[in-house]
């Protein structure tokens, strides 16, 4: 099996409210998978189903080739959006407790905790109480507890909310390390730009339905529409702008007379990039010529609009 997780037609209702409507997705092994969508789209419900906190009304979830079962809990690491720790419990004791709940033996948990505490340089916190720690410190412990039992699948719900930039980077690096060791990772977030650069695959959820999924690279390829950001250096930019405006769809144009710098965005017909470039270089010095690739956010908005237009 090459997929760590497959969901088939998962539906979940809370009373009359539909939280997930016939959602299917495939998460390949050893990938970083983005589960994206605005608040209330159904991301957390889906994650809770994967963690067997709630159960689908219909549909099935397959984990590593087997129908999802209670013992799979030990193979999944989950850092929920709403995360906390017992305030009056000591750090070490608490980490041991949570690790043992995941099925590790005490000695095994002790050994692994020591490794991680040293790695994140928090070894001297062992006997302190959570209430004495800062929020960032507590987040490191939450991270350790999530990954300690070496799960095959790691799920992070809104992973970087509340992290300060330094801690966020440390955690990000550790996540990438884990991926390199073979772990599959799900990021769930409504802040799509925050994980864009990390994800290989994404699913977009909107109003309990999947509206788009696939390899991010492919999606972007599909959604880019031959828009280019162009920067030229030439005399008489205004005249030139008028000239090309007749033939092409131009926007965001601006001419700086002192620096003789013309900037604009152009929409080209497909397969016409080469001749357009040739034309530009004959008329001016090309400072830059970049294809504008839509962000996931843009893609999301476009998809939703397209969908609404269909209905």
């Amino acid at each position: 099996m090459n997929n760590i997780l497959v969901a088939n037609n998962v539906t979940k209702k809370f009373g009359s409210q539909i939280a997930l409507n016939n959602v299917s997705l495939v998460i390949p092994k050893n990938s970083i998978y983005g589960l994206l969508g605005p608040n209330g789209a159904g991301k957390t419900t889906l994650i809770r189903i994967i963690n067997q906190i709630t159960y689908p009304d219909s549909g099935e979830v397959i984990f590593d080739g087997e129908l999802l079962q209670p013992h799979h809990i030990a193979l999944i690491g989950y850092l929920p959006e709403e995360r906390g720790l017992y305030k009056s419990m000591k750090v070490g004791e608490q980490a041991l407790y949570l690790a043992q709940l995941k099925g590790l033996s005490k000695s095994d948990a002790n050994q692994k905790l020591k490794y991680w505490f040293d790695k994140l340089e928090i070894g001297d916190w062992w006997n302190r109480k959570i209430q004495e720690l800062s929020k960032g410190m507590a987040q490191k412990i939450q991270f350790i507890v999530t990954v300690l039992h070496e799960p095959k699948l790691l799920i992070f719900d809104e992973p970087f909310s509340g992290f300060d930039p330094i801690n966020a980077n440390i955690i990000k690096d550790e996540i990438i390390n884990l991926r390199e060791k073979g772990t599959s990772i799900i990021f769930s977030t409504h802040r799509m730009e925050s994980v864009e650069e990390l994800c290989e695959y994404i699913t977009l959820l909107h109003n309990a339905e999947k509206i788009l999924d696939g390899r991010l690279e492919d999606i972007k390829k599909e959604y880019k529409n031959n828009m280019f950001r162009v920067g030229l250096e030439l005399e008489n930019g205004e005249n030139f702008l008028e000239l090309i405006s007749d033939k092409f769809d131009i926007s965001h144009s601006q001419y700086d007379m002192n620096r003789k710098q013309l900037d604009f965005t152009v929409q080209l017909p497909t397969d016409d990039t080469r001749s357009f470039l040739a034309f530009l270089s004959s008329e001016s010095i090309i400072n830059n010529f970049v294809e504008t690739i839509p962000s996931v956010n843009d893609i999301f908005i476009q998809t939703v609009q397209r969908k609404n237009a269909h209905e």
Binding site: F14, G15, R48, N51, Q52, I53, P70, I73, I76, Y78, L79, P80, E82, R83, G84, L85, Y86, K87, S88, M89, Y97, L98, Q100, L101, K102, G103, L104, S105, K106, Q142, V145
Partner: protein, 447 residues
Amino acid sequence: MPMNKLSLIIKREYLAKVRNKSFVIMTFLSPILMVGMIVLIAYLTKVNDNQKRIIAVFNESDYFSTDFNTTERISYIFLKDLSLQAAKDSTLGLGFSGLLHIPNRNDLEEVAQNAFFYSKEAPSNVVLDPLEDIFEERLRQRKLIDIGVSTEDFTTINDKFEINIATFSGEQNLKGINEMKAFIGGGFGYLIMMFIIIYGGFVMRSVIEEKTSRIIEVIISSVKPFQLMLGKIIGTSLAGITQFAIWIISASLLLFGIFLIFGIDLTGLSDPSAIASNPMSSISPLPPTASTMQLYAIEFLQIPWFMLISLFLVYFILGYLIYSSIYAAIGAAVDNETDTQQFIFPIILPLMLAIYVGFFSVFSNPNGPIAVGFSLFPLTSPIVMLMRLPGGIGEGGVPLWQVILSIVFLIVTFIGIVWLAAKIYRVGILMYGKKPTYKELYKWLKY
């Protein structure tokens, strides 16, 4: 081997409770507070009644001349040769509790009919009872003389008498022992109520804490919500039982100490049947060798303690499990403690009812229909049944079938309530920022 998850949770909850400072303080302080309260109440009652009253007696008749003798509570001052008005004025002026006026008439009955007690405020029974006794006594004596009983005869027939009581199986009972037994049962029932309220509250707060600290979702991604709820309830109840054990052990030590101090012969108690099983020979008078104190001690030790304490544990555990799972569901349904009020009241209601029914109905008639009904109804049975149990099971006590039936009811209710509570709990722990209504909770049952 990794530890079983449920036992891990129980262990954590138990340690979290027992290590808590307030637990340690509660364990050692509350018995002291309890004893202190009893002493204080006794003292205050005594102070309240201790005031010695002075009553002026203005006796114009030929009767009652020797009857008003100063007692611990009341002293009498005799007024003579005054007008009634002057007597009233001087009584008021001297600040006495009241004035008893006995007019001069020919006949005792007429005198009694026309006697008046004057006082500033309506007099209490403490004042009136002795006065009425004196009149009654005098009138009775007079009537007896009328029918031919001499004064000497009258004093001889006026023996005090207390009836000896025994059960059909021949065990001799002491007067007041039923009250003592009911009181012991009441104590156990009261303990259960207090524990349900206190420890149920602990469970509820612990659930709220997990919700507000947001650790709940971390944990239920590893264990089932039901396991967590059960572990929490069991762990907390073990802490409660620890507290009980400490109290029972120290109370027994204390009792043993009291027996030693009062010099009650404990060696004779090892075979109490020697005294109690042969009632016919010892019904009257009381055996001279056994002081009343000693008999009470024997009775006290004859209360089926082992049965009582084991059944106490059974009722405590089942009652506690039922109530604390409701408490857990409430904790899960709310975001903070202030929202719990509307849900807690309906829980405390049956507990209070049980206590009141117990004290008013079970004490006077432990086998009456009300007592039986409430000791079978599962939400009140842990308390009410325990109040009935010190009388024993079987003849003279609670029929065995009632005990069994009430335990069966409790177990069935326990399963049902835990099932419902677990459903509410499962949904509630992941709900934030909603102030739930009963309607909402009903919807959760169907999620």
